[in-house]
């Protein structure tokens, strides 16, 4: 058990951001540096500075430029964006649904995105003006379509759109879409491996194009959620309480749902269904620094990004040259760590966050 001074430091908000940012930066550099060819951190700094600010290369090995700028940096960046998106969306959904067990996939958005993606793989379609982007674009479209159907359906059940109704509707759609995916897998011959590989999630060989694809969704979604942090705080005390506090619950709820779904859909579209990040990162942050969404969201963003970069690093180096699916690693690393943290917290008698 840490000393009081260390504990107060750990719990203070400034240190929270410092720690989270440090974690993210270390993960970023580690992700770029480590691999079959080792790139020194100093060289990475020069290279990034060269590309961002146009400074001279200062004698860095030109072959590194290709590795860093064309391969590793976009990959790490994508992993970071996906991790950040999932963690922020997870935090928002948990707050909105007042359930620490909710995750970005609870409402069926990811299943929708997956159905879109698997369909592209299964039918081997390539829309003429999209070429290689067919899969992510179809996938995002499918995910956004899904959340609208879920909300409309929930509204048909009950006009006031209670979160319980939304959760139930989400579960119904998740199961149904899951079944559709299973059906397509069952009917698949050749592309089985490709589909399973996509479903397990990966950020390899995506390049800058995919970053351009996810970035606008990430920015819009995250910004929308962060400016609604107070509303999320209020709504996690229940919808009626939030209304009493002055929140226009109906409108804000829809906004949060859509923003979270955009984030989830975009993340799933570019990388497949990577589990665990969206559930555990917000939970973890809440355990350490409390449930205030004004801090929870940005901290989850940093921690989620760092976490997924590190797990991606592990997935491609642990039995190199074979790459493991990143979704497997997130759970294999994340679950035991999380279990230990939970156990220790319980022993200290503070209960779940």
């Amino acid at each position: 058990m840490p000393k009081p001074s260390i504990r107060t430091f750990l719990r203070s908000k400034i240190s929270a951001y410092v720690l989270a940012f440090a974690f993210f930066t270390i993960a970023l550099f580690a992700g770029i540096s480590i691999g079959t060819i080792h790139v020194p951190v100093r060289d990475i700094a020069f290279l990034l500075s060269h590309h961002f600010f146009g400074t001279s290369l200062n004698g860095v090995d030109p072959s590194f430029d290709n590795i860093v700028w064309q391969i590793r940096f976009p990959r790490v960046l994508l992993a970071g964006l996906v991790g950040a998106s999932l963690a922020v969306a997870g935090a928002a959904f948990q707050g909105l649904l007042r359930n620490p067990l909710a995750d970005p996939y609870t409402l069926g958005v990811s299943s929708g995105a997956s159905v879109g993606a698997v369909m592209v793989l299964f039918l081997n379609i390539q829309l003429p003006w999209l070429h290689n982007f067919t899969l992510p674009v179809v996938s995002i479209t499918a995910s956004i379509l899904t959340i609208f159907i879920v909300v409309l359906f929930a509204q048909a059940i009950e006009r006031s759109l209670k979160v319980e109704t939304i959760i139930l509707t989400g579960i119904i759609f998740s199961s149904f879409l899951g079944a559709v995916i299973s059906l397509m897998i069952a009917l698949t011959g050749e592309e089985l491996r490709q589909i399973i590989g996509w479903l397990l999630g990966s950020v390899s060989m995506r390049g800058w194009d995919y970053i351009q694809l996810i970035l606008p969704f990430f920015l819009i979604g995250t910004l929308l959620l962060i400016i609604h942090a107070s509303e999320l705080n209020a709504m996690s005390f229940g919808e009626e309480k939030a209304q009493h506090l002055g929140v226009n619950v109906r409108r804000k709820k829809l906004l949060v749902l859509i923003a979270g779904s955009i984030l989830t859909g975009a993340a799933v579209a570019v990388s497949g269904t990577i589990g665990f990040v969206g559930l555990v990162i917000p939970h973890f942050i809440r355990l350490i620094w409390g449930p205030d969404h004004r801090h929870l969201l940005p901290l989850s963003m940093l921690a989620g990004a760092g976490f997924l970069i590190l797990t991606d690093l592990v997935s491609r180096t642990i039995i190199s040259p074979t790459e493991l699916p990143i979704g497997v690693i997130t759970s294999v690393i994340g679950a035991p760590i999380f279990a230990i943290i939970l156990l220790r917290k319980q022993r200290k008698g503070r209960g779940t966050a």
Partner: protein, 490 residues
Amino acid sequence: MIQVEHLSGGYYGKLIVRDMSFTVQKGELFGILGPNGSGKTTLMKMMSGILLASSGEMWIKEKRLSDYTSKELAKRVAVLPQMASQAFSYSVKETVSLGRYAHQSGFFPVWREEDEQAVKQAMEQTGVALFAETSLEELSGGERQRVFLAQALAQEPEVLLLDEPTNHLDLSFQKELLDLLKKMTKETGLTVVSIFHDLNLASLYCDRLLLMEDGELHKLGIPSEVLKEEPVQHVYKTDIHQRPHPEVPKPQMSILPEKMLEDEEEVEVDGTCIRQNGEFIALDAPILLKTLSAGVTGAGWGWHRSFVNRRVDKNYWHDSYKEDMKQFLRRYGFDVNETVGMMTAVHLHTAAYRLVEVEGISVFAAVTAGVGNAVDVSRAAEHDRAFLPGTINTWVFANGHLSEEAFVQAVMTATEAKVKALIDKSVKDPLTGSQATGTSTDSVLIAATQRGTYQSFAGTITPLGQAIGKAVYECTVQALENGGIGERKK
């Protein structure tokens, strides 16, 4: 401040509240009462804007409720629901700070000094400032309820709506909360509308009460108008007994538990219950008796089991004689709370007892009489206030069910019988030499088993009055004779 006109509403097309109309003034503490399912909470939800009214109108500060935006309404009206749920362990300060939501604006709201002040003040008023950094999960239900009250107060509302605010609070915090609300209505003009389950609390604190029945207004008015036995029994469909509060001029309701068979078994108080020694005479009743007395302990109305007449020296003097009496009772194993204690200076062997029965009602009387300080009441002004020994202690035990009138009449009848005994025994006021009517320290006790036949009256010619008169008269005469008074005269 609040104006409700023909308001109706409910869930899923089913009307739960029908045609409610009332107004609440600024600074008023307005209570809503009614049995379970009478629509109190539904009415409250409509008033707080959670539930839309299906017909009728409501105005808050001359503005239609439906014209308010969520934030505007939250600046005017704060709500403390019955039970607030929370899924995450926010700290107390974070929770209270959320009360400022409606006062903030912009995408990235700035926390201003006035926000901080409002939060601080709310936390201090509700006594939760102490655990500002504690997590909500670690608090008890009552503490949590106070945190949510602080949150509501941090909204700086003009109207506070509460749904059974004292539900999770213990006795002292119930009082503190209601005292605080009352104070705020008087000092800051806060308007409070609250649902109450406890009729007595509502009676004590509310300026006006609204009694609901089946979604409709049954009665509206000040507590003494609304809390009458008839409407309350009608609405709650149960036996209720109304009595005034002992200290405050407000009505209080008592529940009458259904009588068990054993509560109906007749008991009789008579001479067999008496035990006597040199220091005291005690009567141990088999059950608690309803009493009206002027004893040293157990005075006024009460329910008592033991009755003690203690002999003290004629020069007895004690600064706090009540405390001394209590210690005496404890020493002899009496329960102070269930004992009527009296003092006398006469020798206890002079005590007289009588059981008299008239038309099926029996009365047992016990009297000790010393008349060293006898007084003619008509010339009492001539007496200085010196203490002289001698006291007539009259105990009357009625084996019947007496009304309150009967108790008071019993006191009169017993007194008249005592006076007549003094006249017949020619007891004189030693100072004036005129006929004495009593002594300066007389005491009386009327006790009844409250079982058996109901006795509405105890005037001198009613059966009960006749029994009391005969028993007390004969006892007093006997006691005087035992003490050698009167015989000397013969």
